[in-house]
């Protein structure tokens, strides 16, 4: 930032000073006077192409490093779900505690927001943390992460124009000491069902359970141990089963077909609310620690076999 500002201020000032100096110094002396012809100089032209180019590349590199770091989520994050809708933010803590237009996080932890929109495109923007990310309706989650360093209350805004009350769609991030955060979580969780529990209920209600049988004997692969594992697809490629993959497989099951299984699952696009999708995802994630059946799983065999 300082570097770019410095370079820009330098060039803007240099040009302005040159213009002002020339403007007065070479002010027309006589009504019919003409200027002195200056010869074109390709060396000079080359200099003022190459020097700005080098400076620009330095800016590019610097910005790129920050961006790549921002887009690469570290391990060991505290995952918070964010659902945007016209014109509010519904936020769900890892233990299922729900907040509206408020986000509580502990200081010093890497926080990952997993974000979905129920209607139009929104954008979660915390100016104090220098982070923002669009929240897009449809088949994929956007995620973003940050690591709060100082307790306090910070504004967050919706920064992607989303309709009438766009400007009211904001709130506060409260950064707390970890102990305060823990106390806050346990103190006010009454009445909030754990997301995974709600997901388990839905899993039965929506009849997912009839095909996705846990022991692998169903028409569809068991979901035990799925989250975070490599899934072998029908076209021979593999994909990591992260939130985005799970979401896509619920909404558009035919987008990526698991090897050895027929594409028989109905698409749930438009059938589930974002909250229901979150609950199902949370439930499937909670199956991570369950034993994986030997047959009847979509998980890719260890690469050694190939």
């Amino acid at each position: 930032m300082l570097f770019i500002t410095g370079v820009c201020v330098f060039f803007a000032a240099a040009i302005t000073v040159a213009i002002v100096v020339f403007f007065f110094k070479y002010h027309r002396r006589a009504p019919n006077a003409v200027g002195i012809v200056t010869h074109e100089d390709s060396r000079l032209e080359a200099v003022w192409m190459i020097v700005p180019l080098i400076l620009a590349m330095a800016m590019f590199g610097w910005g790129a490093v920050i961006y790549v770091d921002y887009r690469h989520t570290p391990q060991d994050t505290l995952d918070v779900y964010v659902i945007a809708k016209q014109w509010m933010w519904k936020i769900q803590q890892p233990n299922g505690l729900k907040e509206i237009n408020e986000l509580h996080v502990p200081v010093g932890r890497n926080i990952r927001l997993i974000m979905a929109s129920e209607d139009v495109i929104h954008d979660f923007f915390v100016p104090a943390f220098r982070v923002k990310m669009d929240v897009i309706p449809g088949q994929h989650y956007n995620t973003m992460w940050f690591r709060p360093t100082k307790p306090g209350r910070y504004h967050f805004f919706c920064s992607q124009y989303c309709g009438t009350n766009h400007a009211l769609m904001g709130g506060w991030v409260t950064v707390m000491e970890p102990s305060d955060y823990a106390a806050w979580l346990s103190g006010s969780s009454g009445g909030n069902a754990n997301a995974a529990v709600a997901g388990e209920k839905l899993f039965a209600e929506k009849a997912c359970i009839t095909c996705h049988v846990a022991n692998g004997t169903g028409r569809a692969p068991s979901l035990n141990g799925l989250y975070g594992a490599q899934v072998l697809l029908a076209d021979g490629s593999t994909v990591i089963a992260d939130e985005a993959y799970i979401r896509e497989s619920i909404l558009q099951p035919n987008a990526k077909i698991v090897a050895r299984y027929p594409p028989s699952m109905p698409a749930f696009q438009g059938q589930l609310t974002e909250e229901q999708i979150l609950a199902l995802t949370a439930y499937i994630k909670s199956l991570q620690s369950q034993p994986v059946p030997e047959k009847g799983s979509g998980i890719a065999p260890p690469t050694g076999k190939r």
């Binding site: 770019i4 370079v7 820009c8 803007a12 040009i15 040159a18 213009i19 020339f22 403007f23 070479y26 002010h27 027309r28 002396r29 006589a30 009504p31 019919n32 003409v34 200027g35 002195i36 012809v37 200056t38 010869h39 074109e40 000079l44 032209e45 003022w48 700005p52 620009a56 590349m57 590019f60 610097w62 910005g63 790129a64 920050i66 961006y67 790549v68 921002y70 690469h72 209607d119 139009v120 495109i121 954008d123 923007f125 100016p127 104090a128 982070v131 923002k132 897009i136 309706p137 449809g138 504004h155 805004f157 920064s159 992607q160 124009y161 309709g163 009438t164 400007a167 558009q252 696009q269």
Partner: protein, 558 residues
């Protein structure tokens, strides 16, 4: 001014394009195929849209005086900034310089009688008017609240405003742009006077050549994109709506594929204007002619490859973001080359303080700020923070208002004597230029700071800590408004009462100044032959200037 040659008492030519009688009255204007009259039709119609857009802007700035909003409801506020954007971008900025000055000047500058397709030229004005009527209909019946960017699925599903007529209007208007671009390209290729080689073309013509390429290649994409959004809205076809299997991000790719290059449709012609004004009022050949001409083409080409820098925080692939950031930095270089060459042209010039020069120098100052703040936005790490904040608003207003509109008003002052045959009050014009410059900076510079502090754009209400900067900005806007009203008044006044200008009042070297002011309908009595290099003041005894001082000592490597 004492430093311009004493002007003989010219008289207006007896017949010229304004009073030539073929048919009479309104009919002779509405059915004209004269490029100069069509240019004036455009001048009137873009002024109407500029005025409409300006009224919306005024209301926006008044509303933002207080944190809770001083004037209108949230719905109305959203409509105001949307309609401000649509009116200004599609119906003022994009047609402004090309359709007014490009139309008027390109045939004159290259020594032709008219554009290559005069009837198509008239058609493109009618298309513009029809498109404009659809958009005005949309403004009048419920307004438009999607933002000028029409992001889906907000525009195609959720908005309750009159999106469909607006989208149809912009779709129709696109053809006007395409036809104008086509006309310019064919004209510049085929209708140059004897001796007018490519490298003797005025830089204004080069800039319009580059602009026309963008118009022809880009406009069809945005037209069809908006049409798809309209079809999705009317018939629920799933292009962009995820609930119907569409992809909302696809819209952004298609939209910016045109709308980023469209920025160059707005700024390149203004750069062309400045490239004419600077050598004229420094009375010396422009420094680095071929580099300025080449940089116009480079901007038009690279400008097509940077569109996804509007989408760094949509979750697009990191590799795509890196590529688009890199290319965005590349496009900065040709713009920098132009600025350096303009500044060098001033060196050892004979600089007059005539109003067009004040506007052109103001343009450079504002364009440099607008351009360098683009470097902040192209920087991936920084863009995460300042994307969709007032920083962006300030940046593009510096380019489009500080740049394109300054160039437009500067051009108006430069060619006004050619268009109307009369001069305007110079001191008043100089004063207006300074008022514009100060008012503009006071309006938009605070917005950079607002954006950096985190105020998102398109907010009808904001946290109280942002109030001081918003009040500053509104105060600046009232000065800016004065800066626009002044020229409207004295230019109109001068049409009747201004001093008669004569064919070449500045004097300038272009072919357009070789004919009478205002020019006859056929432009030239005799087809001119070009024997001099562009902006050459040394070998032009006909301009009545002093013999040039001996040229500066040549460099050892020349």
């Amino acid at each position: 001014m004492s430093n311009t040659p004493p002007t003989p008492n010219y008289e207006m030519p007896r017949t010229h394009y304004l009073n030539a009688t073929y048919g009479s009255g309104l009919r002779s204007w509405l059915l004209t195929t004269d490029h100069k009259r069509i240019a004036l039709l455009y001048l009137c119609s873009v002024t109407v849209f500029f005025f409409i857009g300006g009224v919306f802007a005024t209301m926006i700035r008044i509303h933002l005086l207080t944190p809770t909003g001083a004037l209108v409801t949230p719905e109305t506020y959203n409509k105001l900034f949307t309609m401000h954007g649509v009116a200004m971008i599609f119906f003022f900025l994009i047609p402004s310089i090309p359709a007014v000055f490009g139309n008027f000047l390109i045939p004159l500058m290259i020594g032709a009688k008219d554009l290559a397709f005069p009837k198509i030229n008239l058609l493109s004005w009618y298309i513009y008017i029809i498109g404009g009527c659809f958009v005005l209909y949309s403004f009048g019946t419920g307004g438009l609240d999607t933002g000028w960017t029409f992001y889906t699925p907000l525009s195609s599903v959720y908005s309750n405003s009159a999106v469909t007529p607006a989208v149809i209007g912009i779709f129709i208007n696109g053809f006007s742009s395409i036809l104008t671009g086509l006309n310019f390209i064919v004209t510049i290729h085929t209708m140059r006077a004897p001796g007018m080689t490519w490298f003797r073309l005025p830089l204004f013509a080069w800039a319009h050549y580059a602009t026309s390429l963008v118009m022809i290649l880009g406009t069809p994409v945005v037209a069809i994109t908006l049409l798809l959004a309209g079809l999705e809205r009317m018939f629920h076809l799933g292009f962009f709506n995820p609930a119907l299997g569409g992809d909302p991000i696809l819209f952004q790719h298609l939209f910016w594929f045109y709308s980023h290059p469209a920025v160059y449709i707005m700024i390149l012609p203004a750069m062309g204007v400045v490239s004419e004004i600077i050598p004229t009022f420094a009375r010396k050949p422009i420094f680095g002619y071929s580099f300025i001409a080449g940089s116009s083409i480079a901007i038009a080409v690279i400008g097509f490859l940077v569109w996804a820098h509007h989408m760094f925080v949509t979750g697009e692939s990191t590799y795509a973001a890196l590529t688009f950031s890199f290319l965005s930095y590349l496009v900065a270089i040709p713009s920098a080359v132009k600025v350096f060459n303009w500044t060098s042209t001033l060196y050892e010039g004979s600089i007059s303080w005539d109003p067009p020069m004040i506007y052109a120098l103001g343009f450079i100052g504002l364009f440099v700020i607008g351009g360098t703040t683009g470097l902040f936005l192209a920087c991936l790490g920084l863009d995460i923070h300042i994307h969709d904040t007032y920083f962006v608003v300030a940046h593009f207003h510096y380019i489009m208002v500080g740049g394109a509109v300054m160039g437009y008003v500067g051009g108006l002052h430069f060619w006004w004597p050619k268009i109307t045959g009369r001069l305007y009050p110079e001191s008043l014009a100089r004063f207006a230029a300074v008022v514009l410059f100060i008012g503009f900076n006071l309006t938009f510079f605070p917005q950079f700071i607002l954006g950096y502090l985190g105020m998102p754009r398109r907010y009808h209400t904001y946290p109280p800590e942002f109030q001081v900067l918003n009040v500053l900005s509104t105060a600046g806007a009232s000065i800016l408004a004065l800066g626009y009203l002044l020229p409207m008044i004295y230019l109109t006044w001068s049409m009747r009462y201004g001093r008669v200008a004569g064919p070449n009042p500045w004097p300038a070297t272009g072919l357009e100044w070789k004919t009478e002011s205002p020019p006859p309908t056929e432009n030239f009595d005799v087809t001119p032959e070009v024997t001099w290099e562009p902006y050459d003041y040394s070998n032009r005894p006909d301009l009545g200037l002093a013999a040039p001082s001996p040229p500066a000592p040549a460099h050892s490597d020349d």
